[in-house]
C-alpha cells in the first residue's frame, strides 16, 4: 500500500551508493566488516537504507547516555541492538522516532537521516515522524479500552478511513484475530501479557508505518508468547523495517538480520558512564566470528 503523502525524493548520496555497490546487496555474501561501526562512505550492504546515523550522541541534562554512534539501518530487515544494561540501546532506539522529545532534558547531537531527510531538521514535525515510525514498548501498554478501540484509536486520530477493516486486518496481521474475534468489545486488560503485546504490535500496524521500533518487546513475556512474537516479527519484515532492542542474545540471533553491539564505557574517574557502538554487522558474523574481542566476550557469555 503506498502512502499518499507526497514527499522529497531519496537523497542524492544514497542513490550514488546504491549505484556503486548495488550488486553487493545480500546477507550471506560480500560482507565487509567495518572497523568501528559503519563510517560514512563505507557501506557494506548497499541496500536501501531507512536510517543513516552519523556520530549520534544523546545526552540527558548534559550527561551523554550514548556517544558517537554511526550506523546504517536497512529497509525490510530486522536490525537488533544488543549490549549490557546502561549501554544506551533503548535511548538510541527512542531517538529514531523522536520519543526522546518527551524528556525535556534530552538532547541529540550528530545526524539521524530518515531516507535522506534529517530527522531532527528544523521543520520536522515529531508527530509526523511517529506516524511513519511506530514503536512497541518493553511492557505491553494497551489503552484501558476495548480490544477494538485499542486498534481503532490510531486510524481514528490520524483520520484513516475504513476503521473496521483496518482493525480486522491488523489483528489478522498480528496473528491475533482468531483469539479475539469474539470478544472485540472486551477490555484489553483482560488479555494475557503475550496477547497484550501482540495487540500493541497490531495497534502499530493499523496506522501503516514504514518502520516499527521494538524496545525489548518480549522482556515481560513467557517463552511461548516470546516465540509467537518472534514468528510474527519474521513475517512482518516482509512489509516493515524493524529495529529491535533486546537483552536476550538468543533472540537477536534468531530473528535479526543485522546486529549492533554496544557497551558501557566509564571515564577514568568512574563518575560518568555512557554507551558506545562496538561492532555492527550481519548477525551471523556477530555471533560466530566477531571482529572485536569485546563482542566475542559478550556473545559467548564471558561478560555482561
Amino acid at each position: 500500500m503506498s502512502n499518499s503523502i507526497p514527499g522529497n525524493p531519496v537523497g542524492e548520496g544514497q542513490l550514488e551508493r546504491k549505484d556503486e555497490q548495488g550488486e553487493e546487496r545480500g546477507l550471506s555474501q560480500g560482507i565487509v566488516v567495518p572497523e568501528h561501526g559503519a563510517g560514512p562512505g563505507v557501506d557494506p550492504w548497499a541496500g536501501e537504507m531507512v536510517f543513516e546515523l552519523r556520530d549520534v550522541t544523546v545526552s540527558y541534562g548534559g550527561q551523554p547516555a550514548v556517544k558517537d554512534v554511526s550506523m546504517d539501518i536497512p529497509r525490510n530487515e530486522i536490525t537488533a541492538l544488543i549490549g549490557p544494561s546502561g549501554c544506551g540501546k533503548s535511548t538510541l532506539l527512542r531517538c529514531l522516532n523522536r520519543m526522546n522529545d518527551l524528556i525535556p532534558s534530552a538532547e541529540v547531537e550528530g545526524e539521524i537521516d530518515y531516507h535522506g531527510q534529517d530527522l531532527y531538521g528544523p521543520k520536522v514535525d515529531p508527530v509526523q515522524v511517529r506516524k511513519m515510525i511506530g514503536m512497541v514498548f518493553q511492557k505491553p501498554n494497551p489503552f484501558p479500552k476495548s480490544i477494538f478501540d485499542n486498534i481503532a484509536f490510531g486510524p481514528r486520530v490520524l483520520g484513516l478511513g475504513d476503521v473496521d477493516d483496518r482493525v480486522q486486518a491488523a489483528l489478522k496481521g498480528a496473528a491475533l484475530w482468531d483469539e479475539v474475534k469474539d470478544r472485540l468489545d472486551d477490555n484489553a486488560y483482560g488479555m494475557s501479557g503475550g496477547q497484550q503485546q501482540r495487540l500493541c504490535i497490531a495497534r502499530t500496524m493499523a496506522v501503516d508505518p514504514e518502520v516499527i521500533l521494538m524496545d525489548e518487546p518480549c522482556s515481560a513475556l513467557d517463552p511461548i508468547s516470546t516465540g509467537k512474537i518472534e514468528d510474527l516479527m519474521l513475517e512482518l519484515k516482509e512489509n516493515f523495517s524493524i529495529v529491535i532492542v533486546t537483552h536476550n542474545m538468543q533472540q537477536a540471533a534468531r530473528v535479526s538480520d543485522k546486529t549492533a553491539f554496544l557497551i558501557v564505557r566509564l571515564d577514568a574517574a568512574e563518575t560518568a558512564r555512557w554507551g558506545e557502538l562496538v561492532e555492527y554487522d550481519v548477525t551471523e558474523r556477530i555471533f560466530t566470528n566477531p571482529a572485536d574481542s569485546r563482542t566475542e566476550d559478550y556473545v559467548t557469555g564471558k561478560v555482561g
Partner: protein, 321 residues
C-alpha cells in the same frame, strides 16, 4: 497466518520503492497551539486570583495605615474600631485568634497524631481501609455545623462541670478551641498517616531485626523518619484553625479581650471580619478599611504557615517517593 494479511500493510516488497513522505507537519496545527494557550490561561487564573487577593487587601490597607499608624495597629491593646473615639490596636483579636487556635491544637494534636500512629502502625489493612475513608468523609463536615455543635451541645454540657471554662455562657474561647480541634483532627490524622506510611518498610524491618518492640518502632523509628510530613500536617491544621470563621463566630463570642483564658469570651480576626463586613458598610470609611487591614494580617499569617507546610511536604516527598 496468511501472508496476504500482512500485505495490506507496510511499504510494499523489498524491491519496491515509494516516494519518501514528508516529515514536515501537514498543517500548522493552530488548534493544538490554541488549546495549549487556553489551558495555560486556566492555570494563570490562579495567579490572577492571588494577585486580586493581594491587591484588594493591600489598597484599603494602605488607606487604613494612612490614618492609623502601623505601630498603633500592631501593638495597641484596645480594639474598638467602630466606637468613637475608635481604637485600632489589633492585639486583642490577634490574641483571640491565637487563643482559640492554641486550644484547638491542644485538643487535636495528641488525638490526631495518636490516631495516625494507630492507623499507620497498628491497624490491620482492613481496619485502615474502613477508618481512613470515614475520617475523610467526616473531614467534610461544614464548620457551621461544628460551631452549632459547640454552641448548643458542648457549651451547655461543659459549663456545669467545669464552670471556669465558660465564664460568659454560652461563649468561651476554650469551647471554640475544642470545636476547632474536632475540625482539624482529620487533617492531622490523615496527612500524618500518609507520611508515616511512606516510610520504607525496610526501616521498620531493620528495627524489628534488632529486637525493637512495635511501640519503639513506631515512636523511635517511623515517627522521626516521617517528621517533616507530620510537621506539615500540624502547620496546615494550624493554618486552618487560624483561618476558621464560623466556629469562632458562633462559640467564641464577640468581645475583643486580650487574654488566653480558655473560659473567657474572645473575638478573633476572622470573627471581626465576619461580623463587621456583613452590614451595609460603605466603601471609603475607616471601618471598611479596617476589615481589609485585619484581612491582610490574617492572609500574611496563613501565607507564612502554608508556605512552610508546602516546603515540609515537598521534603518528605523528595525523601521517600
Amino acid at each position: 497466518m496468511a501472508t496476504g494479511d500482512i500485505r495490506a500493510f507496510g511499504t510494499g516488497g523489498p524491491a519496491g520503492r515509494r516516494p519518501v513522505p514528508s516529515l514536515e507537519a501537514p498543517s500548522p496545527r493552530y488548534g493544538e497551539k490554541a488549546i495549549r494557550g487556553l489551558l495555560a490561561l486556566c492555570a494563570l487564573l490562579s495567579v490572577l486570583t492571588t494577585t486580586a487577593i493581594v491587591v484588594s487587601l493591600l489598597l484599603p490597607t494602605l488607606d487604613f495605615l494612612a490614618e492609623v499608624p502601623i505601630g498603633e495597629f500592631l501593638f495597641g491593646t484596645t480594639w474598638a474600631p467602630t466606637f468613637t473615639p475608635a481604637d485600632f490596636g489589633v492585639l486583642p483579636i490577634l490574641v483571640g485568634t491565637l487563643s482559640t487556635s492554641l486550644w484547638g491544637m491542644l485538643v487535636a494534636v495528641p488525638i490526631g497524631l495518636a490516631s495516625a500512629i494507630f492507623l499507620s502502625e497498628y491497624a490491620s489493612p482492613r481496619t485502615r481501609k474502613v477508618i481512613k475513608p470515614v475520617l475523610e468523609v467526616l473531614a467534610g463536615i461544614p464548620t457551621v455545623a461544628i460551631g452549632i455543635f459547640g454552641l448548643i451541645f458542648l457549651s451547655p454540657l461543659i459549663e456545669p462541670i467545669l464552670p471556669f471554662m465558660v465564664k460568659v455562657p454560652p461563649f468561651s474561647a476554650g469551647i471554640a478551641g475544642i470545636a476547632i480541634g474536632l475540625m482539624i483532627v482529620p487533617i492531622i490524622a490523615s496527612i500524618s498517616d500518609d507520611s508515616m506510611r511512606s516510610v520504607p518498610q525496610g526501616l521498620r524491618e531493620a528495627a524489628y531485626g534488632l529486637g525493637a518492640t512495635r511501640m519503639k518502632v513506631a515512636t523511635r523509628v517511623v515517627f522521626p523518619a516521617a517528621i517533616s510530613g507530620i510537621i506539615a500536617s500540624l502547620v496546615l491544621a494550624g493554618s486552618r484553625a487560624v483561618g476558621e470563621t464560623m466556629i469562632v463566630l458562633l462559640v467564641a463570642g464577640a468581645s475583643p479581650n486580650l487574654t488566653f483564658d480558655p473560659g473567657s469570651s474572645v473575638q478573633t480576626m476572622t470573627a471581626f471580619i465576619g461580623t463587621t463586613a456583613t452590614g451595609d458598610i460603605s466603601t471609603g470609611t475607616i471601618t471598611y478599611d479596617t476589615i481589609f487591614a485585619v484581612g491582610a494580617l490574617l492572609f500574611a499569617i496563613t501565607l507564612v504557615l502554608n508556605l512552610f507546610a508546602i516546603r515540609m511536604v515537598r521534603k518528605y516527598r523528595e525523601v521517600y517517593e
